[in-house]
């Protein structure tokens, strides 16, 4: 082997060795979190996720209310944010004239750049009072439905879903826009040639890129599931699963944020790490799936 070839190999190996730290880090997170949750996994098994009692003093840990609150608030956020995010994506890719395109792009980027803690601060002092107002104005007959049960406290699932939806919109919108841009022009041209209206042509494009659009929505879901501070500050932190939008509830990320530094004994700590481990597994799975979906739209074009 010549000097040059050796040098080239050295360059590749050297940078590669450093680069391997990145996948090792991901593996490391998985291993460490598993290791540090063994006590809880052994003691409670799968019952951990079915049991609703969370009593650190008695050493009884059931995580059902947290997974319920996480899924419920995230799905509510998706329900609210998806139409708006898709609307923005369509506006930016198909409707806006060129000079009008930059400001919304910049402003949605700004929305994504606002730190979670600032969303939370705004949530506590502006959104929660507004939600409380809505709750008190809800007529009594409507409040009898399980969906709107409970006293009007402001903090709760509705506030969490609202704030999450605002936070998720920029992520979903920007990916959906990329997907729409990746749809071949002949899809829309074909539709127009057949006499389609603007919306019908856009619908063709949305349908063509449906997998990527789903990927964009799932990317938003991944963000919502792991979002911590803003949710912690407005959801009310009450470990009681409820169907009611008005009820204070709890999420996986929030219980870790609130209780981790106070977890006095090992079992308590391991129970919290187990919640973190499951959060990790869920978000990694969802992000991976969404990447695959988005990537397929790009690949089909090539």
């Amino acid at each position: 082997m010549g000097r040059r070839a050796r040098e080239r190999g050295g360059f590749r190996l050297g940078t590669g060795a450093v680069a391997l730290l990145v996948p090792l880090l991901v593996a490391g997170i998985a291993v460490v979190l598993t290791w540090d949750s063994l006590l809880s996994v052994r003691q409670f098994g799968l019952g951990f996720w079915k049991n609703s009692t969370w009593d650190p003093v008695a050493g009884v840990f059931g995580a059902f209310p947290f997974i319920w609150g996480t899924l419920y608030s995230s799905l509510l956020a998706l329900l609210l944010s998806t139409p708006i995010a898709l609307g923005i994506a369509v506006f930016l890719s198909d409707l806006s004239p060129r000079p009008l395109r930059q400001p919304p792009v910049f402003l949605t980027e700004l929305l994504a750049a606002i730190p979670s803690i600032v969303y939370g601060l705004w949530g506590i002092f502006v959104l929660v009072p507004a939600v409380r107002r809505i709750e008190t104005l809800t007529p009594a007959w409507l409040r009898r439905f399980p969906l709107f049960e409970g006293p009007p406290v402001g903090v709760g699932l509705l506030a969490a879903g609202l704030i999450l939806s605002v936070m998720v919109v920029p992520f979903t919108a920007s990916v959906a826009r990329e997907v729409l841009k990746a749809v071949p022009a002949n899809q829309r041209e074909g539709a127009y040639a057949l006499g389609a209206t603007r919306w019908e042509a856009i619908r063709m494009a949305l349908f063509y890129g449906r997998q990527g659009i789903m990927g964009a929505v799932m990317l938003g879901l991944g963000r919502a599931l792991g979002e911590t501070m803003a949710v912690t500050m407005v959801i009310g932190n009450t470990p009681r699963a409820s169907l009611s939008l008005f009820a204070p509830q709890y999420t996986m990320a929030a219980v870790i944020a609130n209780e981790f530094s106070e977890a006095a004994d090992d079992l308590y700590l391991h129970a919290l790490v187990e919640i973190g481990l499951v959060l990790f597994v869920i978000t990694v799975a969802i992000n991976t799936l969404s990447r695959l979906l988005i990537w397929r739209v790009g690949a089909e074009r090539a």
């Binding site: 040059r4 040098e7 080239r8 050295g10 360059f11 590749r12 940078t15 590669g16 450093v18 680069a19 391997l20 730290l21 990145v22 880090l25 991901v26 997170i29 540090d36 139409p83 708006i84 995010a85 609307g87 923005i88 369509v90 506006f91 919304p104 910049f106 949605t108 700004l110 929305l111 750049a113 606002i114 730190p115 979670s116 600032v118 969303y119 939370g120 601060l121 705004w122 506590i124 002092f125 502006v126 605002v166 209206t197 603007r198 919306w199 019908e200 991944g222 963000r223 599931l225 792991g226 979002e227 911590t228 501070m229 500050m233 870790i256 530094s261 919290l272 959060l279 978000t283 990447r291």
Partner: protein
Amino acid sequence: MNGTRLRRRLASAAAVGFCILSVVLALVPLGFILFFVLKEGLPALTFDFLTRLPKPVGEEGGGMGNAIVGSAILIALAGVIAVPIGIVSGIHVAEFRAGRVATAVRFAADVLNGVPSIVVGIFAYSIAVMPFGRFSALAGGVALGIMMIPLIVRTTEELLNLVPPSLRDGALALGATRARAVFSVILPAALPGILTGVLVALARIAGETAPLLFTAFNNRFWSARLDQPIGSLTVQIYTYAISPYDDWHRQAWAGATVLIGAVLLFSLLARTVIRRLERMHHA
């Protein structure tokens, strides 16, 4: 015009209207948030706030001076950890694009980017708090650094790919090795952009709170020691926001103003630099 056609036209107009409405709907909260942060935060943003220590519970006044310095230290630590690893990994991914390592790294960076910050916090707790038995600035820096790595890898890769191939061809034609071409020609050409990307990444992790709660913890006093708990702007805002005191609420808003100001400044700066670079390369 028959009925079907009219209906289709109307549906189309409604859809277009909805899209425009969505843009407006998304921008309302942005306006609201910025408005409230400035309205509540600016009046409380005094010289004392920026330079003083927090006062004990019940006393008015005091500031977040130590927390601002603490945040700066944490961010610097994160940068020291993430920038070298991120840039070298980015170089590898850009240079050996199709290689197995590059594919794994690119995928891992995407995964890492999607890992919730609170989970990164647990990991940092396990490797940098538990073994030493105490919260520390270093642990906080590790947590933020881990979050920053995927951002740097991605920026570096993208910006290296923006460098015109003619530069590389020139270097190789002059007899440079590949490493030489990368480190003396391609990397310097991409460096302004990469540094901008580093700024953006720093601005993003500057706003992180969750991973600091149980790594850097908090500290109400001046501290620059890496093996001790340290205050940070974000954790301090959180503590004050959930407290029952009006004066602390005002300070939380002031802290948010400082934070948003810093984040916006970095983003705007980065944006203009990147725009200029892109124009330069495409010209």
